[in-house]
Symmetry: D2
Subunit: 345 residues, 4 copies
Amino acid sequence: MDTQVVNELEGRRGTAPIRVAVAGATGFAGQELLRLLARHPYVSIAAATGSQATSAPRRLPALARIWDGTVVPFDRAAIIAAAEVVFLALPEKASAETAPALLEAGLRVIDLSGAFRLRDSAARTQWYPATATLPEGVAYGLTEFEFEAIRSARLLSNPGCYPTASLLGLLPLQRAGLLQPGADIVIDAKSGISGAGKAATDRTHFSENHGSVAAYNPFGHRHTPEMEQALGRPVTFVPHLVPLDRGILSSLYTRLVPGTTAAAVAAAFEAAYANAPFVRLTGDGLPEIKHVAHTNFCDIGWKVDEGGGRVFVVSVIDNLVKGAAGQAIQNFNVMCGFDQRAGLL
Amino acid sequence: MDTQVVNELEGRRGTAPIRVAVAGATGFAGQELLRLLARHPYVSIAAATGSQATSAPRRLPALARIWDGTVVPFDRAAIIAAAEVVFLALPEKASAETAPALLEAGLRVIDLSGAFRLRDSAARTQWYPATATLPEGVAYGLTEFEFEAIRSARLLSNPGCYPTASLLGLLPLQRAGLLQPGADIVIDAKSGISGAGKAATDRTHFSENHGSVAAYNPFGHRHTPEMEQALGRPVTFVPHLVPLDRGILSSLYTRLVPGTTAAAVAAAFEAAYANAPFVRLTGDGLPEIKHVAHTNFCDIGWKVDEGGGRVFVVSVIDNLVKGAAGQAIQNFNVMCGFDQRAGLL
Amino acid sequence: MDTQVVNELEGRRGTAPIRVAVAGATGFAGQELLRLLARHPYVSIAAATGSQATSAPRRLPALARIWDGTVVPFDRAAIIAAAEVVFLALPEKASAETAPALLEAGLRVIDLSGAFRLRDSAARTQWYPATATLPEGVAYGLTEFEFEAIRSARLLSNPGCYPTASLLGLLPLQRAGLLQPGADIVIDAKSGISGAGKAATDRTHFSENHGSVAAYNPFGHRHTPEMEQALGRPVTFVPHLVPLDRGILSSLYTRLVPGTTAAAVAAAFEAAYANAPFVRLTGDGLPEIKHVAHTNFCDIGWKVDEGGGRVFVVSVIDNLVKGAAGQAIQNFNVMCGFDQRAGLL
Amino acid sequence: MDTQVVNELEGRRGTAPIRVAVAGATGFAGQELLRLLARHPYVSIAAATGSQATSAPRRLPALARIWDGTVVPFDRAAIIAAAEVVFLALPEKASAETAPALLEAGLRVIDLSGAFRLRDSAARTQWYPATATLPEGVAYGLTEFEFEAIRSARLLSNPGCYPTASLLGLLPLQRAGLLQPGADIVIDAKSGISGAGKAATDRTHFSENHGSVAAYNPFGHRHTPEMEQALGRPVTFVPHLVPLDRGILSSLYTRLVPGTTAAAVAAAFEAAYANAPFVRLTGDGLPEIKHVAHTNFCDIGWKVDEGGGRVFVVSVIDNLVKGAAGQAIQNFNVMCGFDQRAGLL
């Protein structure tokens, strides 16, 4: 890791805790942020604000003894006065409206919504219409592939949960030139129900999901353009809901450049993640959600059909950790010059 | 079974289908009613009405090919014109308001809410304030213990799901005089989430229940007075939500009259249910929810501590079948002079 | 339906119950067979034999009051004396050894294993080495596409659970010439744990599956050649285990012949299943496992990307019913000239 | 906390890591021990041995990057040479045979089995016949109530999972004299399936538990005498299996000394746990398993029926953490003079 100091947060390395705020602290990702940040060795939580319209401060009972603060209504001036870095775990419209003012006031922002993920204006207008323009200094926070951009970012756009799992399984092969150009890439992803958010709806009712599996939004999910942007080629993506709480398993199907060996595929994965503390390669032993739940790990396994030119990759994450709060903190660590693992092991 | 005809429905036995309506057909119990009634050999479904405020008729996709009708808004006059028997799967306030007019028009009513379960005015006012008075001709539909009253009832009040499971486990011992007077009766019941209803709330969110168990309403659930009324003595009842969809397991703890043998307990159960087609006794082999899910069976097992004078009873049902729609149809069968099992096996 | 009598079972239509036996009655599929056959209007269960090495007859408590017989050890001569049709719910090696003798004795056999599914000798030797030769008169029992062959079969080879769900979603398009030749067909299937069988293994332990998803056998599952045989082209198939008990959701991805419209796809499905009582088409409203659990239905939905030439199909079944016992009985009904739905609604 | 050094481990406080070994490292509790100990700031893992008969060392994939050692066969001499403290996560027979030799060699032993929990010889002979005698220096490790005994123990007998949850909910009231003498104490406990152990059996099969609940061993579970020993009075205990992986909810029912107020109950809990870092009191807001899963917390809530003299207490833990590995480490911390929370937050 480069030891040159690239920003003022890195200059603070080790001298005083970074003061952070969490907006949207009562949602699933927000609570996970508080849980992790409360134990982070170089952080103090300066504020946590509630995404629900409420005037009364409230406590989060599951976090008792871990973080004993109170969630208060969002107050921009108070946040600017209290914090240096703000994690936004808000709907994208709220993020699109909130982030610019915080940046203007000199704060760093780590946004977990999709508001700032798409660089192409037309695509962004279609999928995230509330985001008129991309602020300067925005980085896409897929940590393992954007380390240098993240280090100097003022606005960190944290990847979506499905793109995190899927891109970590595909990018090593794509960048190594092993994926056949023009071949279809099928991404069949299975997500736990927490991925559908904390709002009580017919879709998140226990009885609708227990004992069931459902595909949704085929060809139409907004994480598709995010993945296509990173890969530089089209994908066929269909998400599914499976009856568990936390976790994503992404099944990736495509074709290899003729002649590609299983050894070449393994070598590409090993080279890509030689220095990645949170990616664990399992090779032929396919990974399972259970192994990564409640951790920031992404486990990746694969199978090559050498004769047929096909490759199948499985990538698993905890959607609330590596797919949201954990990766956000991993990115925060990079921005601050800390060890990527600080607060995450 | 007595062959004397006690009402005009019995007089119809076998000659023409009984025309029934289901009000509240889109709820969990309502859909189960449609599923079962559609296959009932002596029934035609004259109408199904939606409890949700909607002006448009709608279909229920899960019932396609089973019942292909449409759910329409509730229209009292249309119901009176079309049906002879109406199943009300409505909130108790709606039942309290709807049932009297239907009865007055000469229809039989089978009500699945709590509106008409409590005979004591003070208790009813406390727990079901919308029910000003009990109509004449009301019977409490715990089929195995109220056969004759059900046969001639005009308004059938279907028992609650917790009381069904718990009373079937306790009444044989209580009525046989084997339960020690004055001893505490502890009823610890575990229910699947469908018991909390179809409304999307924080309580019914998948993520709140997966991997969790929660007790609720200790000492304060309105099924308590219903059980006390049937048993003629107080009980300590605490319901719990467990992470499954359908089913109740009720664990019953109390003391036996000194000297009561295990054989006497078994004999009491066998005598009580000698002619009950839907009660299966498992003795020492304790029953599990899995064995009764999607059926109208109540399975009951028990363990006697002869030296200590204690008895432990386990009773399991499917809360939407024997605890709601199935028992309602069982009662309907009794009212019509049909075999109790018609449409339920 | 043709009214010509094609075999002696059809000649028996309606006159006397068909005497059937179930071998392997304590497994998941075997128990489901007993549950369904016990209520079948034209059947008497002549024998049920246990796949476990046991000399003592045993009862199945969950089937009490539904089927109150006893499971006894397998005795070929006794079966031949007692039954006309035998359902084999055995491991394929046991089926391969047992079926020929039963056929030779003049019985009809409905085999739920994979022993007799593959017509190509080389493929069969690779995947089902215990099956030396295919008996004469064998039919592949995908009811919706093999009606006439099933009608006159002496040995009915019931399809695998994954092929049932997947082929019902693909064959209408393949046979209508709408699928682009040479394009990859990706079959990503999600199965409940009952699909892994009743044996207690690390793979079927509750704790290994709760909160988890796992892919297994990529490119290497023996249901692959079965699907390729029916489709006449290669497929990429990866099965997954999801944390539920019963059900399969098969996600099917491929390309359409250029210019194929969404209307053409819908028309192909409607034409294929115009007379299929157990296939329900849901169109854009994608089906979910919950809708078919505990039924013999296969629900199929799809989404066409007209501009991109892609089609995505979702097909769901209950793996123990339409994927095993239910389809076996549906085939039995066809063999006997009964309504396909007899005993299945 | 007393600052006097009571043993040689305390004398080591802060100077060098304590060398620990884990026997039975591939079981559920063993893996949890490794996961927690690997991050413990004052510990080095000197050895991990496998409870399965295997001659080959093996890795645990889920622990990759957390603990990258190998599990080796148990070798007593090697353990004695390498470790100062040994955690035994073995079946009780193996613990009973192994612990004495380790103690004799001067090591401290923390045993997670039931082998050394019962002080009464007759009871021990009945429930744990492999344990001939209790070694000297044994302490019962219910940390919140046995702090001083634990501090100087040479053999720490870690409590059972059910007793941990249940006793923490009852002891404050019993010791404060608020529970009516002679009244029944009913303990209805619900446990996740990991409590049934890692062995693949019919009881731990996914399909037996999904969608089901089962009571087992009424009046006959060996955790009963353990609870009666701690409380000094009889209890009625029935455990249940619920369809989740990790967690216990214990529902506790009994009677209060006449005149006991809700305030007195609350005061007793607050006094008992004023200095307990891992007990969180929730009062009327009843706790749920979800809030404590994957933590060492025990959350306790209650409801008092002042008029009726009844009290209902709910206590929840993660059975593998506070009910096993976590409490073992908490006790280890006490034995070593560390902060109880070291490695557990």
